[in-house]
Symmetry: C2
C-alpha cells in the first residue's frame, strides 16, 4: 500500500494512553508486573489501533530469548509476503507503580539536591527501576505486534522547572510516530533547573504531549472504575461519570447530580506515591480537557477500557459504560 507522505504528516494523533502504574504493576509487590492485565491491555490497544475491519495476523516483534531457553523464536519466514497492518497513531505513557517509587522515596530524588551522594545514587537507582519497567512494557506491546519504541524522558531531553516541564524535545516522538512507531514514555527522574533534580510524573508528560500533539482523546487506564467522590474502598463511594471543566480551569461533577454540590471530592493518595494521586490526575486531566480534548479515566483490562480506547465515547457516552469522562464545558 502506497503511503501519501504529505497526507501522512498532517494526519493527527488519535489517542494518548496512560497505563497507570496501579493497573500494570502489582502495587504491593516490589517491582512486579501485573502480567495478566498488561497482556489484556496490549491486546486491547492493538484492537483499538487497527484501521479498517480486516482482522490481521499478529506479527510478534519481541524476538528476545525466553528465560531458560537458548533459542530465539521468530517466524520471520512467514512474514515475507505479509501485508502491512495500518495502525492509527497512538502514544503510550506509563506510570511506575511498584517500580521506582521505593528508590525515589528512600533517596528523596523528588525533592532535589543532586549534590548529595544519596540523591545521586537514588537518581540512578530510580532510573534503573523505571527503565526496566519500560523495557518490559515495550516488550509486552511488541509481542502483540505493536511497533513500540521506548523513550526515557531524561536521556531524551526532558527537564523540569519545579516539577513542571521546562524542556522536551518532541521531534523524535514526532518522527517515530511518522515512521509508524508507537512511542512509549514513562515517569522518570530528570534534572530540574530549580531543585537540581526531581521526578517528572507520567501525568505531567501526558499533559505536555496532549498540548503539543493535540490527540483526539486521552485515556487513563487505572485500577478502579474511574474517579469517585471519596476513596473507592469506602462502601458509599459514588463513581463520578462526568466532570465538566470550565473556562477558568475549575471543574464540577455533572453526572451523577451530587446532593452536596459544593462538597470537595475526597480522594486517596497512596503514601508511597511521590508524584501525587487522584487529585493530581484530575487537575492534569482538567487541563487537557480545557484544550477541547476528551479525557476518559477507566479501569484497565475491562470492556469499558476497550470502548474508551476505541473512541466509542466521543459523541455519546452510553448509559452502560462505567468510567469517568472529563470534558470541556463550552
Amino acid at each position: 500500500m502506497e503511503l501519501n507522505l504529505s497526507e501522512s504528516w498532517s494526519r493527527s494523533i488519535r489517542c494518548i494512553v496512560k497505563l497507570g502504574g496501579a493497573a500494570i504493576t502489582r502495587k504491593n509487590e516490589l517491582e512486579t508486573i501485573h502480567d495478566e492485565n498488561l497482556e489484556i491491555v496490549a491486546c486491547q490497544l492493538r484492537q483499538a489501533m487497527i484501521e479498517g475491519s480486516a482482522p490481521s495476523k499478529v506479527i510478534g516483534m519481541d524476538w528476545s530469548k525466553k528465560p531458560g531457553s537458548s533459542q530465539i523464536s521468530c517466524h520471520v519466514d512467514e512474514l515475507g509476503d505479509h501485508e502491512s497492518t495500518e495502525f492509527s497513531r497512538f502514544v503510550v505513557v506509563h506510570g511506575a507503580g511498584s517500580f521506582g517509587h521505593f528508590q525515589a522515596s528512600r533517596s528523596g530524588v523528588h525533592k532535589g539536591g543532586l549534590e548529595k551522594p544519596i540523591v545521586k545514587a537514588g537518581f540512578v537507582a530510580t532510573r534503573i527501576s523505571v527503565t526496566s519497567l519500560n523495557l518490559e512494557i515495550v516488550r509486552a506491546l511488541a509481542r502483540e505486534g505493536i511497533p513500540t519504541i521506548g523513550m526515557s524522558p531524561f536521556p531524551c531531553g526532558w527537564s523540569t522547572s519545579k516539577r513542571d516541564v521546562a524542556s522536551a524535545d518532541l521531534s523524535t516522538v514526532a518522527k517515530s510516530i511518522h515512521s509508524g512507531f508507537v512511542p512509549v514514555l514513562h515517569g522518570d527522574a530528570v534534572l530540574d533547573n530549580i531543585l537540581g533534580c526531581t521526578i517528572l510524573s507520567g501525568d505531567v508528560i501526558i499533559r505536555h504531549l496532549a498540548e503539543h500533539l493535540k490527540p483526539e482523546y486521552v485515556v487513563f487506564l487505572t485500577d478502579v472504575l474511574g474517579v469517585y467522590d471519596r476513596p473507592p474502598s469506602e462502601p458509599d463511594a459514588v463513581l463520578l461519570k462526568e466532570i465538566a471543566v470550565e473556562e477558568d480551569g475549575g471543574w464540577k461533577v455533572v453526572n451523577p447530580v451530587l446532593e452536596h454540590t459544593d462538597k470537595k471530592v475526597e480522594t486517596s493518595v497512596a503514601a508511597h506515591d511521590t508524584t501525587g494521586g487522584m487529585e493530581t490526575k484530575i487537575s492534569e486531566a482538567a487541563m487537557i480537557a480545557k484544550l477541547g480534548i476528551d479525557v476518559y479515566i477507566v479501569k484497565a483490562a475491562t470492556t469499558h477500557s476497550q470502548r474508551a480506547l476505541n473512541g466509542e465515547l466521543r459523541d455519546v457516552v452510553p448509559e452502560d459504560w462505567l468510567g469517568t469522562v472529563i470534558r470541556f464545558s463550552k
Copy 2:
C-alpha cells in the same frame, strides 16, 4: 565540596570507552552477557575514574530487586554523611555482541526498507535486544558505584544518512556529564534518510562523540590483545603495537617493523557482524587519531586494559604493555 560551575563546564572529557560486544557478551551464546568480564570492566572503570588517591567506599546504585528475592537491598542509611566521590568525566559506548545481531540480520534492518513488515518488526526486535543489553550494562556499572545513565541513540535523536551520523543531539549527553553522570550509549537501529533505516554502529557513535567532545583519549576494550596482522587465531599472527595515522587518513604499522611493509593487514570479520569488524574499527580509530586523540585497542579485563583506562600510556607506551596504540603521526 563546592563545585565551581564555570570551571566545571570547561573541564574536558577524559575518556570515551568502547565496551566491545565480544568482550562483554558471550559471542556464541544468544543474548548472554559475559558476567565475569563485565564485573571486572566495571571495577577497572571505577578505578580509572576516581580522582585523587583516597580509596573510596563503593556506593551501589542499582537498588533493583534481585531475581528470586522480594526485597530490595540498599544501604541508604549508611550514605547519610558519605562524602561525594569525585569522578573524572567518562563516556561509555557498547557494542551488541550476541544481542541484536540475530534480529538485525534476520530482518535486514541494516539494509533499510522500513515499509516492509519484516523490517519494521526486526527494527523493533533489534532495539528490544540491544536496549535490554544496555540496561544490564548500566546496572553492572551502577553496582560498582558509577552513576550511569543509559542513552539509546534512536529515541535520543540520532539518525543517519547512509549509515553515517546525520543528526545527533549531544546536549543531553553534555548536561548529563556536567551533572556528574556517565552516559552509556550503544549501537542501535535508527532511521536513515537514504535507506529508511539502518544499524548505527557503536564505533561510528564513538567517532562522532570524539569529534565533538574531544576526549583526552579513547579506549576500545575487545576480546583479543589488540589488532593483529592476520586473524589472531592463526599461529603466526603478530600483534601490531603501534599504528601511525597520516595527514591523508592513511595508516601504517610502525611497531613492530613488518617485513612486508606494503602488506595489507588481514583481519577477520564474523559473519553475523552486520556493522563490519576490525577493518571498520581501524578506520574509525584512524579518524579519531587524526584529531590528535590517542586510541588504545586492548583486551578487556586485563592489567593492560586497566593501564589504558588509567591513561598511563599517554606519554610513553611501556615495553611490557600489550595492545595497539593508534596515533596521529605529526
